[in-house]
């Protein structure tokens, strides 16, 4: 069956390292827990239904009680006109400093007409009569429209991140063959090349690389040959995580945002790419990654396939696996 190939969580010395494992877990838990400490006194509504479990629960509610939520003391404070229907949940952030307009408690609303509004949450008098800001994304020339027939613009609720910094740094750009290449692009391409060469060198030409390859083939024999299996496994995790981290940093720079789920799709695609490249074959994985990246972008830009970008990527993966089940550079 699967026989440990996918489910094998290879932590060195699982039996002896019980205490180590529990300590690591506890530390991780503490770190994650501290990151999530509510920093503001007022409760913000940053995503749909308050949290990622979509529960709708507000555990820090202090104002509303069963006695004061009734027809006489609870009701609409104000209403504001917008340009289309609202399918996404309105979000609320307190104490937002809006340049030139001071500090407000803000309600963010996205409409099906592809507009986003920011309203003051407390009153509509004086300077707050009009939205604090509003922006509309419709741009038919660039292909940004709403979906006919029922005008589907912004349908899903986003997640607001009060702590992510927004950098408006202009990176240097270069025009190459009619396409603008930014400094970030160069860094990514250059960095990736360097990493790949270094990795190839380590795997092929160092004793550590040899140990890693031996352990991958047959753990028992490697141990008997005097190879330190634990060290190899630790090295693999270390190197792999470091490379992935580099990738994550590059994505963050490229898209100017960090959020907890940014690695999900990349992870799934990565897993698929390993298989498509031919298990264990680094060159194959790189080739597969390039094929995927290029075809995904080409297909989503120039064709009308009724799927999202990620959907097309996954479709490509399925097709590639089926065409060559042993992987692009795998052996039959």
């Amino acid at each position: 069956m699967m026989k440990n190939s996918v489910f094998f969580v290879f932590i060195p010395n699982p039996v002896r390292g019980v205490r180590r494992a529990i300590t690591t877990v506890a530390v991780l838990g503490l770190l994650l827990g501290s990151l999530a400490l509510p920093a503001l006194a007022q409760v913000n509504v940053l995503t749909q239904h308050n949290d990622n479990t979509r529960s709708g629960l507000n555990p820090n509610e202090t104002l509303l009680t069963p006695s004061n939520v009734n027809a006489t003391t609870f009701g609409t404070i104000l209403s504001r006109p917008v340009d289309g229907m609202i399918a996404a949940q309105p979000l609320y952030v307190s104490h937002v400093n809006i340049p030139g307009q001071g500090v407000h408690n803000v309600v963010y609303v996205a409409t099906l007409h592809n507009s986003v509004y920011a309203f003051d949450a407390d009153n509509a008098a004086g300077g707050n009569a009009s939205p604090l800001w509003q922006v509309n994304f419709l741009n038919p020339a660039a292909g940004v429209t709403t979906e006919p027939p029922s005008e589907l613009g912004c349908t899903s609720t986003t997640r607001l991140s009060p702590s992510a910094s927004r950098n408006c740094v202009r990176s240097p750009t270069v025009a190459v063959a009619g396409v603008t290449v930014t400094g970030a692009d160069c860094l990514i391409l250059g960095g990736t090349t360097v990493i790949f060469i270094a990795l190839w060198f380590v795997i092929r030409h160092t004793s550590l690389g040899f140990a890693i390859r031996a352990v991958a083939q047959d753990i028992e024999t490697a141990k008997v040959m005097g190879i330190d299996v634990d060290r190899s496994v630790r090295a693999v995790f270390f190197i792999g995580s470091a490379i992935a981290a580099f990738g994550g940093i590059m994505v963050a720079i490229l898209y100017n945002a960090v959020y907890t789920s940014m690695g999900d799709m990349v992870g799934y695609k990565g897993l698929a790419l390993i298989v498509i490249g031919g298990f264990g074959n680094m060159t194959g994985a790189v080739i597969a990654a390039f094929i995927l990246g290029i075809s995904e972008t080409v297909l989503i830009t120039y064709t009308d396939i009724p799927m999202s970008r990620d959907g097309i990527a996954m479709l490509m993966l399925v097709v590639l696996i089926l065409i060559r089940p042993q992987g692009l550079l795998g052996k039959t």
Binding site: M1, M2, S5, V6, F7, F8, V9, I11, P14, A21, V25, G29, L32, G33, A36, D51, N52, T53, S55, L57, P59, A87, E147, L152, T155, S156, Y268, L271, A272, V275, I276, F279, P306, M307, S308, D310, G311, I312, M314, L315, L317, V318, I321, L322, P325, Q326, G327
Partner: protein, 307 residues
């Protein structure tokens, strides 16, 4: 009668148990690692949703059609699975579930990202079923699914599946055609999952593509593995326990995925057979207890005496 909250929890436990049983057939019995059971659940749910809203079918009329649709989907996804190696099967199923989710969102027939809503209630004794009556329907479906799966395990089909799971090459030289039995597994497992999907659709009465994507598929796999892959008791226990867990531990809401992941890691390290799997501590303790109990009743002593 029972509190409405309790009824909801029980109904969900039943629904996820049915889906878990379906995945157990494909992955547990036949050893075909499948990370995309959402495809089959979604096919059943959407088929029933479309038939009952657009085509005017009743719940009971739509049920067999939806199950047949899921079974077909199982067959269709089983065909590519024949071509790939064991290790690639996981990735193939991931790809398929994402493709499925994406198509459902973007093709015009399925209601897009907003899904299909206002599904009619099932009819029970002539009237639209109350939640309590629906719980009885779900319980009935669960009992039927358990009985069917137990029977399959004892049938030749089950033995062929287990042979293929253990060693496909050895099974082949015994005259067992792996392709045929794998397709049977996919079809039958998908049918169960589709049944779960229909029950889900008419309980929530609102289906969206995101209900049947990658993450829900993983949750079902976790349920099956947690309980004990390949066993009926494991699938049902895992589904019930992991549906109940978020309710019992509401205070860890934001860390639900952390807890899930952690549980899975710890489980794989210390009880890789699942909590109620064949080799697990809990199951062996239960069996020893049962043997001792029987011994006490027959011989008056808890341990057999050795000559």
């Amino acid at each position: 009668m029972l509190d409405a909250y309790v009824i909801t929890i029980l109904t969900l436990m039943g629904i996820w148990s049915v889906v878990a049983l379906g995945l157990n057939v494909i992955t547990g019995l036949a050893g075909q690692f499948n990370l995309g059971v959402g495809v089959y659940m979604g096919t059943g749910a959407y088929a029933s949703a479309m038939l009952t809203t657009a085509a005017g079918f009743t719940f009971w009329e739509a049920l067999p059609c939806a199950i047949a649709a899921s079974a077909c989907m199982g067959f269709l996804t089983g065909l590519p699975a024949l071509r790939v190696r064991e290790d690639s099967l996981a990735v193939l199923s991931i790809g398929l579930v994402f493709v499925f989710e994406s198509l459902i969102i973007y093709l015009p027939y399925f209601g897009g990202p907003l899904g299909i809503s206002r599904l009619p209630r099932a009819t029970f004794a002539g009237e639209p079923a109350t939640n309590q009556a629906y719980l009885l329907i779900v319980a009935g479906a669960l009992v039927a699914s358990i009985a069917a799966t137990l029977y399959l395990r004892r049938s030749w089909m089950g033995l062929a599946w287990e042979s293929i799971r253990e060693d496909e090459t050895a099974a082949q030289v015994l005259g067992i055609d792996p392709a045929r039995y794998k397709l049977y597994a996919f079809t039958i497992g998908a049918a169960f999952a589709g049944l779960g999907g229909v029950l889900y659709a008419h309980f929530i009465r609102f289906v969206t593509p995101y209900d049947f994507g990658f993450l829900p598929s993983i949750y079902v796999l976790v349920m099956v593995v947690f309980g004990g892959l390949g066993t009926v008791r494991g699938a049902v226990f895992g589904a019930c326990f992991l549906t109940l867990l978020p309710e019992l531990f509401r205070f860890v809401q934001d860390y639900r995925n952390l807890i899930y992941g952690l549980t899975l890691v710890l489980l794989m390290l210390y009880q890789p057979r699942g909590l109620l799997g064949d080799g697990s501590y809990a199951w062996r303790a239960m069996r020893t207890g049962w043997t001792r109990l029987r011994a006490i009743r027959t011989t008056g002593r808890p341990y057999a005496s050795n000559p």
